[in-house]
Symmetry: C2
Subunit: 352 residues, 2 copies
């Protein structure tokens, strides 16, 4: 890898910007991570299930930073009828996100089975609205499911959906396993996968014991991590960046009870990717010559923009290898959010 890269601005196709104080803290960190376009998750409380809610949410985000292109989504539940789908398409909503019931933050109203949503999916296919999938079998629904196999066991459902709706554009979000990489590759061109920064660098060993490395889906084995790094460098557009940056106040991580799931990566989105690639080369998971500028530009923004039919960015970012370290936490708007890889080295990032 080179010590410096000048690349098109990044696009992050899976972000949690929250609302209220947390969004005031987090939205201003999008640009420092090298990102000008974000695909905004709808799992607020209550979830974003109407076009009006989505547009009002976008207004609130724009009021914080109007230099970002916010691509909005709806939360798939029973209220998302074919009419809502057509209304969403007309209003410029980019996609609809499906969460398995109870699997992650604010997903209690999520999907137990896609069968009851068949009409909605048909309408999405007709309107060409993207379906985003959190691809895990909800734990607790089957006795053989644990966090380690919940994604792999979901993949037959992905393949079924794709067979049933071959023109429906589907993104399997935050893939964490070699199995998921293989399943996405086995599907046609309408199916893609996003990969987070943290799953490119973590394994389950860090996710247990360090609550700031704990998220859903959990990080898996070293072999799975190597498969993700390989998916990135051989992606050809099949896989692109979606950080799933998921801020939680430190009190929800270190306070009483279980820790909230989520890793906070927004402020160093592009930087983390370069570090993960460097470490992957060091471990021998990927080869240095595979990390080309084409791969970096593609994964960090171009491939996702292509898939979502968003104009390519004319803005540029410069990433430089430095000895700077990531500070402990973001303290703003009355919240404190601990950074992923706090205290470790990062790249610097500058907008041209």
């Amino acid at each position: 890898m080179k010590p410096e890269y000048t690349l098109p601005a990044g696009a992050d196709f899976h972000v949690h910007l929250r609302d209220g104080a947390m969004s005031e803290a987090v939205v201003p960190t999008i640009r420092p991570g090298g990102i000008d376009t974000v695909y905004v998750m709808p799992n607020l409380t209550p979830p974003v299930t109407t076009v009006a809610q989505a547009l009002a949410y976008r207004d609130r985000l724009r009021a914080i930073d109007d230099s970002i292109n916010y691509l909005m989504t709806l939360f798939l539940d029973e209220s998302i009828t074919p009419e809502v789908v057509r209304e969403a398409k007309a209003a410029g909503i980019a996609g609809i996100k499906s969460y398995p019931k109870g699997t992650t933050t604010n997903s209690a109203g999520g999907v137990l089975s896609f069968e009851s949503h068949a009409e909605t999916l048909r309408a999405m296919e007709e309107c060409d609205l993207v379906l985003n999938i959190h691809g895990e079998v909800p734990t607790g629904t089957r006795p053989d499911i644990s966090v380690m196999n919940a994604e792999s066991r979901f993949l037959p459902t992905l393949l079924d959906l794709h067979r049933q709706f071959p023109r429906l554009r589907i993104v399997l979000e935050h893939v964490t396993t070699a199995d998921a990489v293989e399943a996405v590759r086995a599907c046609g061109d309408t199916v893609r996968g996003t990969i987070t920064a943290h799953h490119l660098s973590l394994v389950i060993d860090q996710a247990v014991g360090d609550v700031f490395c704990y998220c859903k889906p959990v990080a898996k084995s070293p072999e799975d991590r190597a498969a993700l790094l390989n998916a990135l460098v051989t992606s050809g557009g099949k896989f692109f960046l979606g950080t799933d940056s998921a801020p939680h106040d430190i009190s929800a991580k270190k306070g009483k009870g279980s820790a909230a799931a989520g890793v906070f990566t927004q402020p160093f989105a592009c930087q983390y990717i370069l570090t993960a690639l460097e470490e992957g080369i060091e471990r021998g998971d990927i080869r240095d010559e595979q990390v080309t500028e084409e791969v970096l530009s593609g994964f960090l923004g171009e491939w996702g923009r292509d898939f979502y039919r968003v104009e390519q960015s004319t803005k540029k970012i410069v990433l430089r290898k430095t000895d700077e370290v990531i500070p402990e936490s973001l303290k703003a708007a009355g919240v404190e959010v601990v950074y992923y890889r706090a205290g470790k080295k990062t790249w610097s990032l500058e907008w041209l």
Copy 2:
């Protein structure tokens, strides 16, 4: 299961009693857990590597509660020569514990390979001193090892050791996988396994996100948990109780940085086992009629005492099903240790 059991006093063949303030807090909780005999781990700082240290440690424990039978161990490192083994046997030391280097609390001086300890193991076999094994391949030594497969990948080493030293009594501590149960069963009568209370009830899903369920080895899959419950009820003496109760102050769990590994189960040792069996029956992992008084008496004490050649206890405990809940934490001697399953129902325990 019955609502009440009168059983011989339990024996816990794997406990961490620590030293100083922590031992003052924890040692008085041995009896409330229904236990009168404990097998004391040597991973203090510095580790217990001499007979004199072990006897002095036992004196400190007796000064806190002299009604408990403390079985003492040494920490296997280069200083444990055949001479030390013979001296240990003569002094009534019960066994020698081997930790893989760097795998858990205070194990930095541990074993990387048993080959360099062959003379010591030969002397242990001759003296009939028990070898206790933390059976995980140290993560970081091989790129394919993660916390999820570290135990399974260690098992060939166990089988090799048993082949090389067939008369050496070996205990594979805190087995967590179906693989480990199978490996112990595949060995001759000199090899046994201990099972903790928490691995009979946890799976990896709770170990990530809840630091009070985080320990080494980590809890594994639902199938692995079912295998442990089955090992218990079909043990016939092959598996017996070793709680691996591992107290850490709340500051080491919820404070800055990664959480210390360890689940604190001492004060409810026998009670947790009954709850784990009840839940295992509810899930269908085991059948109600398998949980006989013979199995309970055996697992909770008799089988371990037999193996370690400790006299059977004449004391009795009574366990009763109640609606009492486990309190939040033990606060004593200036430390605070959060209980496993705080806030959940437990059985009551009384000494006759």
